[in-house]
Amino acid sequence: MDLGLTETQELLKNAARDFLENECPEQLVRDMEEDEKGYSPDLWGKMAEQGWQGLLIPDTYGGAGFDFLDLCVLLEEFGRALVPGPFMSTVFGGAIPIMQIGSEAQKQEFLPKIASGDLIFTLALTEPSARFDESGIQTQAAVSGNEVTFTGTKLFVPDANVADYLIVAGRSGAGVTLGIVATDQPGVEVTQLVTIARDKQAEVKLNGAKGQLLGTDGGGWAALQPVLQHYTVGECAYLVGLSQMDFEISVDYAKERVQFGRPIGSFQAIQHKCADMVTDVDGSRFIMYKAAWSLNTDQADKQMAVNMAKAWTSEATRRVVAHGQQIHGGIGFTKDYKIQLYYRRQKRAELAFGDADHHRELVAQQLGI
């Protein structure tokens, strides 16, 4: 029993923090909001040199062979720096599904290129029903041998504008079926959405889009569960880093901002907000790592751990960024000041893969109520 980081994790955390402070400054975050691609290929290449896209990928496929807890340590730093771009899409929507359910040939074809930063992936899961359960998958999948053809509309697909491949969930006669679909074909039409965080999400129309079958015909929903569990915890890790930074910026501001002749941080009304913020951030961090550990060590109650982590983290981090805005007063509402960057991004991640209501319901069901 030990809730501290390992030496390797400390090193990874410090290296990532130093790297991102230099390579992913606030200005880049702002520029990418307006950028058509939404990411910096230069930064993407440097991240690959750090071994990050392939952090989880075994070294036999060109990766670094770290474990999922290590990845969550890195993602906390990504949340802190608000790293823009298709990192999570590629790791959770590409590397992990291929590692878990891909054939040997698919692993050899894709994993080394993901690790080297040469391929961008994303998961095309949700549809206009915006549901996260199996009934939400209505896109048609027609399987013929190792090939699968998709027809339907996917919505809220992250980073589809720059993805080389989509992992698509569709429905065949046998049930939910997955396929790896190249985006450079006429049957794939990507329309970008404008979102609260100015991240790049898209509507993806699939009109006879062809791809490789991933896993088995009809085995897609079961195969997706571990993918979604990891992805959900990854979003939690990002939220932990984001809310930690929002909290630190707010505390610093409370120490500097003077009203009535004293720093506002000397007022108990502000102090108690700050105490509540750190409680929410710390609570989010440990429940996230508990879920990550449960997945990493294949605990029997891992699904419950994931649901609890996202239910809690979604709301706790929202409380944090709301307090952050209140502590900053009027200046925090301006576009020029940095705190709003965190506020808007928190909402995206809060809603991704189910908000607190969604996961709380699943917790209630597992508790037997």
Binding site: M1, G265, A275, F286, Y289
Partner: protein, 413 residues
């Protein structure tokens, strides 16, 4: 990060579990949890019920054999010298089994304080009697005029030859009615700055002039007392540490497991029992869980929040095991745990609707109401009994101040 026991920790856990299975007296094993104050060791040893007396004695004997009355004390003083992680596992298993701790304030506070600040005579006289369960201690810190601002305490001690003469009043002296000795903070120098005129004194509770009067709380229980001092003469050799340094003696950060794990365990048990009860026929007739999804979600939230509290406890013990001293983290546990206790009880009362108005208390009022109570009125009792948790041991406002100033470095107001 690792939530699992190491092989050594797992072996120790098995050992503690087996010990409880073999030695916990039936009285504590079969106790029905109604959310009322359960009979504890302190009350049982002074009880007029012979079965209670025997249980208190047997349990103390069993624990003493292993040095587990004071598992956190060093071996040389008769403790078990357990590491912080072992203490944590011990506390966890005892709380899971709802086994009553033995020794009260003597074990938790006075003993460790004497080990750090006491002289050899004081240690020799008092520590063995704490460990044998012969002497129970109560703490006299708070006063009617000194709550959150404890250092403003006014109970006066004047040196007269080789005695101190004490006059004044303490309040919230928990368990003083069952105790044999008190330790108290008293003012020995009214001219000095408030923290520097206080001394730490021990006194026999039967000393003439010392009166203990139980206070009845809003739940008809008597957990604490008012204690009055009228020319109470205490030998000067009962001063612990130096005169006028008592504040620092009393506030010594004692080096033992302080995760507060037992709170998390009891909240989780209450939620689990609530859910199990609601599945029974009787439970279905009382519970509104089937009616309102909002209530189901509220129960789910409480369960998730206990997970947060467990992790806060694990964090503290992990820090201690790594040789770090918890700072704001301990305040956070107290704050979060006490507020969660109130939320759990509130959620429980919501689940049972009107049935939550029933206050069943067999000891006081017999079987009256029993057919209409839900879970023996457990959540109704808790709804009242958790009220002081956000007030005692440093109110939650004080805890938030501590987190903000000591933890986050915000300027003091």
């Amino acid at each position: 990060m690792d939530w699992a026991d190491s092989p050594e920790q797992a072996a120790f856990r098995t050992d503690v579990r087996q010990f409880i299975k073999d030695r916990l007296p039936g009285r504590y094993r079969d106790m029905k949890d109604t959310g009322s104050e359960n009979a504890g060791w302190q009350a049982d040893r002074k009880s007029s019920n012979p079965e209670a007396n025997q249980a208190a004695k047997d349990w103390a004997t069993a624990l003493a054999e292993r040095g587990w009355i004071a598992p956190h004390w060093p071996k040389e003083y008769g403790g078990a010298g357990l590491t912080t992680i072992e203490q944590f596992i011990y506390n966890q298993e005892m709380a899971e089994a709802q086994a009553p701790p033995v020794g009260g304030m003597g074990v938790s506070l006075l003993g460790p304080t004497l080990i750090v600040h006491g002289n050899p005579e004081q240690k020799a006289e008092h520590l063995p009697k704490i460990l044998s369960g012969e002497v129970a201690w109560a703490q006299g810190y708070s006063e009617p005029g000194a709550g959150s601002d404890l250092a403003s305490l006014q109970t006066r001690a004047v040196k007269d030859g080789d005695e101190y003469v004490i006059n004044g009043q303490k309040i919230w002296t928990s368990g003083a009615q069952y105790s044999d000795w008190l330790f108290a903070l008293v003012r020995t120098d009214p001219e000095a700055p408030k923290h520097r005129g206080i001394s730490f004194l021990m006194m026999d509770r039967t000393t003439p002039g010392l009166t203990v009067r139980p206070l009845t709380d809003m739940g008809w229980a008597q957990p604490f007392n008012e204690t009055f001092f009228e020319d109470v003469r205490v030998p000067a050799k009962n001063l612990v540490g130096e005169e006028n340094r008592g504040w620092y003696v009393g506030m010594t950060l004692l080096d033992f497991e302080r995760s507060g794990i037992s709170g998390a365990i009891s909240h989780r048990r209450n939620i689990r029992d609530l859910i199990e009860f609601a599945k029974t026929d009787e439970g279905k007739a009382r519970s509104r869980l089937g009616e309102f999804t909002t209530l189901r979600h509220e129960v789910a939230d409480r369960h998730i929040e206990t997970e947060i509290l467990f992790n806060f406890a694990f964090r503290i013990v992990s820090m201690q095991a790594r040789g770090l001293v918890p700072n704001y983290e301990a305040s956070m546990n107290k704050m979060y745990g006490s507020e969660l206790a109130q939320r759990v009880s509130r959620t429980g009362t919501k689940v049972f609707g009107l049935f939550s108005t029933i206050w069943q208390d067999q000891q006081k009022w017999g079987e009256q109401n029993a057919p209409y109570s839900a879970m023996g009125s457990r959540f109704t009792h808790l709804y009242v009994r958790t009220v002081p948790l956000t007030i005692l041991s440093g109110s939650n406002e004080i805890q938030r101040n501590v987190i903000a100033t000591r933890g986050l470095g915000l300027p003091r107001g």
